[in-house]
Subunit: 239 residues, 2 copies
């Protein structure tokens, strides 16, 4: 976008991303970052966006672990997904991240096909051009898939109340409560990132995506807290 | 609603539905009817709506065939769905009808689970009340799943371009063109209701849901027209 219009270099939040100004980016908040991401990928077709994302994932390195992002995947999470599927569960990702972004990698990395990914979405529009129909992204937020909105989107996409949920932040609390609010066997688990040695340790003070309210009410709602440090034998497959 | 507020009896479109005034109902158009339906089911939870709908379907008779609505299902459609699934296809319904309405019956009748139904939807909201989370309907349109909007919704729910599509009205033309607008083997079929003897015969002049544009461009786009009269051995299983 900056190549097309150099004046954007001086505009926020573009300037912050170009200059890797983490402080300013952080202050945008989770929703502000998602809105920027959608703006930056305006007008692309669904298939073009998928190609760009797949290419990006094929090279993107994690700055801390110095591994491909697609390798920084929790081994116990993969084992749990396999276990659920082996027992007849249909597994979904419900993410605050971009729905098409996560869809591009979910099948390869988690064995979850695109139609079983729910996430934040940009508005899109139908385009008929030169006898070809495409779906194009509009640089505007359609849904910010966080907190209450996760429940609304599960209802829209899945159409029934899930039986089991695993989350790791306050953004997941509402869907945990949704899963637990009905009769029959139901289960909600919450990952606590408390392992500074093998991963990271953070919870109530992480402003961008805190784990605060969920920790507070977990016991009262019967949400099982999983400690990365104490309960996970291995964190990553590469460990 | 009329029991709660008798004044509604005199208000349109409520009056028309209460008096079975088909002319006025017809003039509302497909979208107007959907909007009324959503208004009439405001405030219900997802599960309550499902119960009401399931009960309704257990008794609802087709006024012309004098059979349960759930029996008025095309036999060749069931055979095609079975054939596709036996060959590794994941089958979806993409309907102009209410998404939760069709979901209540799709698995039993078509073998299609709720999460593989896409349709017109009302807005919904998260509710936390007496330590119970529910999703409640708001009496407002979220998406009218017709024409271009079907393509946008397929993109949101499925996240990739389908390979095969079967439709029966102009409301399906855009998704047929979407399916056909990419490389590789792809197929679109269009049912022509031309069998006044065993079902009905209508196309260009049916105002509520015409088959006009799609008939006109079918040949040019490579859409295969299926004649109910000439191509279908049986129409209903009860024939």
């Amino acid at each position: 976008m900056v190549i097309k219009d150099p004046a954007m270099k001086e505009k926020q939040p573009y300037k912050a991303f170009l200059e890797r100004d983490i402080k300013t980016i952080h202050d945008l908040g989770k929703k502000g970052i998602i809105e920027f991401v959608f703006k930056a990928h305006e007008a692309e077709t669904q298939e073009d966006f998928n190609t760009i994302t797949t290419n990006w994932f094929s090279k993107a390195m994690h700055p801390y672990f110095k591994k491909l992002c697609t390798e920084c995947i929790y081994k116990p999470q993969l084992e749990l997904l396999d276990y659920l599927r082996a027992n007849g569960f249909k597994t979904y990702i419900v993410t605050g991240g971009g729905i098409e972004f996560v869809r591009a990698v979910a099948e390869k990395v988690y064995g979850i096909p695109p139609e079983q990914v729910i996430g934040s979405s940009s508005k899109t529009k139908f385009r008929l051009k030169e006898k070809k129909v495409d779906v194009c992204r509009i640089g505007e937020l359609n849904s910010f898939d966080d907190r209450e909105e996760k429940v609304v989107n599960i209802s829209l996409h899945i159409g029934r109340r899930p039986l089991f949920v695993f989350g790791n932040s306050d953004g997941d609390l509402r869907m945990m409560q949704y899963v637990l609010s009905a009769e029959g066997p139901r289960m909600a688990m919450l990952l606590h990132h408390d392992d500074a040695q093998r991963e990271f340790a953070y919870d109530r003070d992480f402003k961008l995506s805190p784990l605060n309210d969920a920790l507070t009410v977990a016991n009262d709602w019967g949400i099982l807290i999983v400690s990365m440090k104490n309960d996970w034998n291995k964190v990553f497959a590469f460990d």
